[in-house]
């Protein structure tokens, strides 16, 4: 291997960040422009910049539907990717991610139990105050599964076992959810099935006031623990010998990952393969294992990936919007397969 000039590395890094930021802007606008109703770009921009002067219907479509959806895509992509990166590093497993490890399943199970348990209460006159309870329940579900995975991975030092366990847990959670569906009313059932397909568009502006702050908090927590993530990359023993308070640090990172993956799952449904694929794209593009670069890179790439998936989901000419879950799976799975072939031995990151 030829030695690489560190200054060139730095320039390349900076160039990639600028490129990703520009792409993010472009994808964001493209996402707002695309939808089942074809709107002239000028009118859409008008509604965004001078809402008072825009046509009423266009204003409604853009501000009440498309803008929240684009914002949701950005935060959901960011959140899932960053939590995927955290899990891959903490478990030192390149195939880890919120979906594969069953974190999303844990969150959805908790949400389902909550919804079912809450429905009878609602008839008694108790109402949900906002979306916070739903979010908190999802975080708890995600966190519980993370702790379970940690417990198992500390017992069996084998990456494959942890992954298989995650899949088993996902199936078990899915089974319980199916049983819950069996007992639920017809209207709830439809809502549930739509929810399991994943959707960026069902989030209301009111819910965004919960989702956005929660995910911003999760990201800030992740950024605060970037340095520790680097240490975890070498394994627990090294991290400890470098002075990282293992238990506390891992708890903070898990909290961050649970908030990120749990919030997205609660409000958008389980969206797979973003969390597992995006961190690998970041590694390949930035050629580094340093989380101080990888984490911002994953963040930007995740937002881009989700916006792109959403644009594909509503390509012009399509009558209806495709389920976002299918699009991310079809985009993400090839990347994961390519990564497995490239790594051959996927024993470490």
């Amino acid at each position: 291997m030829t030695p690489i000039n560190p200054i060139l590395d730095r320039q390349r890094e900076r160039g990639l960040f600028v490129l990703l930021a520009v792409l993010l802007g472009l994808f964001f606008i493209a996402d707002i422009l695309s939808g089942s109703v074809l709107l002239p770009a000028a009118e859409v921009l008008q509604a965004l910049i001078h809402p008072s002067r825009a046509i009423e219907t266009v204003k409604t479509i853009v501000l009440d539907f498309r803008l929240p959806k684009a914002i949701t895509a950005v935060v959901a992509g960011t959140a899932l990717s960053v939590s995927g990166l955290q899990m891959q590093t903490i478990f030192r497993n390149p195939l880890a991610g919120p979906y594969v490890l069953g974190i999303s399943a844990g969150a959805s199970l908790a949400v389902a139990l909550f919804a079912l348990g809450f429905a009878p209460l609602m008839t008694l006159g108790v109402t949900l105050s906002g979306s916070w309870p739903l979010a908190v329940v999802a975080w708890a579900g995600a966190f519980a599964v993370l702790l379970l995975v940690l417990f198992v991975s500390s017992r069996v030092n084998d990456n494959m076992t942890v992954l298989i366990l995650g899949m088993l847990f996902s199936s078990a959670a899915g089974a319980v959810v199916s049983i819950l569906q069996y007992f639920s009313s017809e209207s709830m059932l439809k809502a549930f099935i739509v929810w399991t397909m994943g959707s960026l568009g069902s989030i209301t502006t009111e819910q965004l006031t919960v989702v956005v702050p929660a995910i911003v908090a999760g990201i800030l927590l992740a950024l605060a623990k970037m340095k520790d993530l680097n240490a975890f990359l070498l394994g627990e023993t090294y991290a400890r010998s470098l002075g990282v308070p293992i238990f506390r640090s891992r708890l903070w990172i898990f909290l961050s990952a649970s908030i990120l993956a749990g919030t997205v799952t609660a409000f958008c449904g389980p969206i797979g393969f973003v969390g597992i694929a995006v961190p690998h794209l970041a590694r390949v593009l930035f050629r580094t294992s340093d989380h101080r670069v990888l984490l911002p890179a994953t963040l930007l790439l995740g937002a881009n990936a989700m916006l792109l998936s959403d644009i594909i989901a509503q390509l012009p000419g399509l009558q209806a919007t495709l389920p976002i879950n299918s699009v991310t799976a079809l985009l993400g799975i090839p990347i994961v397969i390519w990564m497995i072939i490239r790594n051959r031995k996927f024993a470490t990151l």
């Binding site: 291997m1 030695p3 690489i4 560190p6 605060a224 970037m226 340095k227 680097n230 240490a231 990359l233 070498l234 394994g235 023993t237 090294y238 400890r240 010998s241 470098l242 002075g243 990282v244 308070p245 590694r283 050629r287 580094t288 294992s289 340093d290 101080r292 790594n343 031995k345 024993a347 470490t348 990151l349």
Partner: protein, 349 residues
């Protein structure tokens, strides 16, 4: 044994180690062991598999608590140090074979500065200085920009030692640093460690199975024997016969003259060898392996087997003359001689 200094840099006093499950006696791996280490010493921790070497290292570094007794670093119990303080006192090299893509040697060595940098891990001028000095001292200057996964096992072990060096601690602990290395790399690593102990005044503790190298290079042995832990110069271990404790198998013996281990074999009789120099030594070794007790004296009653070595001045002209029957047989290599002897020994009678 006489200890000259009153408070050693590292002292274990009646230490019991192990993992206690839920109370009870079963978790003890070692009980009541005591030993010390001084500044600038290269200490080799010796013991058969399962004797608790790794557990002892983990206890010394504070990863697991002592079950009984005490571990004192610079006079203070290990438990009284915070993880951050320990990180500036002890650096650790684990036995794990790290496979980290997208990480350069300089990045890995920079991990050593982890305990000294802020939350973002930014390296200051003095940190960079320490990283490059460590790389130079371990002879890796040409490898600094190479990716860690492209290194050979020996080079990677050097890089890990450089990382420990960059941590700038008075103590370096290594868990079987020579385990996966080829013979020449084993010697190189030992030589590097001895040099660091001498020139940098580091106290270096390593566990190893490479007894013959450790016998030559270590300043001190800590030997985990059934009786506990014996410590002393490697030569003490030889002269006082501690090494025999390492082997439960009666067929393995230690040759005090050669400083090496051998397998005892069925006695095959006496062989007289005439010759000189290296040829005589190695011929005797080969015959010993077959079970012969070798004599070199001239004036013995004629033994059943007598070998004369000729042409010692030129390796190409070495010949072995075997006088066992009427006519002497000539062999051009030891292998040929040994094959013949083995065939003869297998003949009935």
């Amino acid at each position: 044994m006489i200890t000259s200094t009153p408070a050693p840099l590292l002292e274990a006093d009646r230490l019991s180690i192990g993992y206690l499950p839920a109370g009870g006696d079963s978790g003890f791996i070692r009980k009541e062991i005591s030993f010390t280490a001084e500044r600038g010493e290269l200490v080799a921790l010796i013991g058969p598999n399962g004797s608790g070497k790794s557990t002892l290292l983990k206890t010394l570094t504070g990863f697991i608590p002592p079950l009984k007794g005490s571990v004192r670093w610079m006079g203070k119990p290990v438990g009284s140090y915070t993880p951050a303080e320990l990180a500036r006192l002890i650096s650790y090299v684990s036995t794990e074979n790290l496979r980290l893509p997208n990480m350069r040697v300089a990045d890995l060595v920079a991990y050593g500065r982890f305990p000294y940098t802020g939350w973002l891990g930014r390296l200051r001028e003095e940190d960079l200085q320490m990283v490059s000095t460590s790389i130079r001292k371990t002879g890796l200057s040409d490898f600094a920009r190479r990716e860690v996964i492209t290194l050979s096992d020996g080079e990677r072990q050097r890089a890990l030692i450089a990382r420990a060096l960059a941590q700038n601690t008075p103590f370096i602990l290594l868990d079987e640093p020579t385990a996966f290395l080829d013979v020449s790399a084993k010697y190189e690593i030992f030589q590097l460690l001895r040099q660091l102990a001498r020139t940098e005044g580091k106290t270096i503790l390593l566990s190893t199975h490479d007894l013959n190298i450790a016998l030559r290079e270590a300043d001190k042995f800590w030997m985990l024997t059934p009786a506990g832990c014996t410590q002393g110069a490697p030569e003490d271990a030889v002269l006082q016969g501690w090494l025999s404790h390492l082997f439960t198998h009666p067929q393995i013996g230690f040759d005090k003259t050669g400083g090496d281990f051998y397998l005892k074999t069925e006695p095959a009789g006496t062989a007289q060898v005439k010759g000189q120099g290296d040829a005589l030594i190695w011929t005797s070794r080969a015959l010993t392996r077959l079970g012969f007790s070798v004599v070199t004296e001239e004036n013995l009653p004629l033994p059943p087997l007598s070998i004369t070595i000729t042409g010692e001045e030129d390796p190409n002209h070495l010949r072995w003359l075997l006088h066992s029957g009427e006519t002497p047989l000539t062999f051009s290599s030891l292998h040929a001689l040994l094959s013949y002897l083995r065939q003869e020994m297998q003949k009935p009678g």
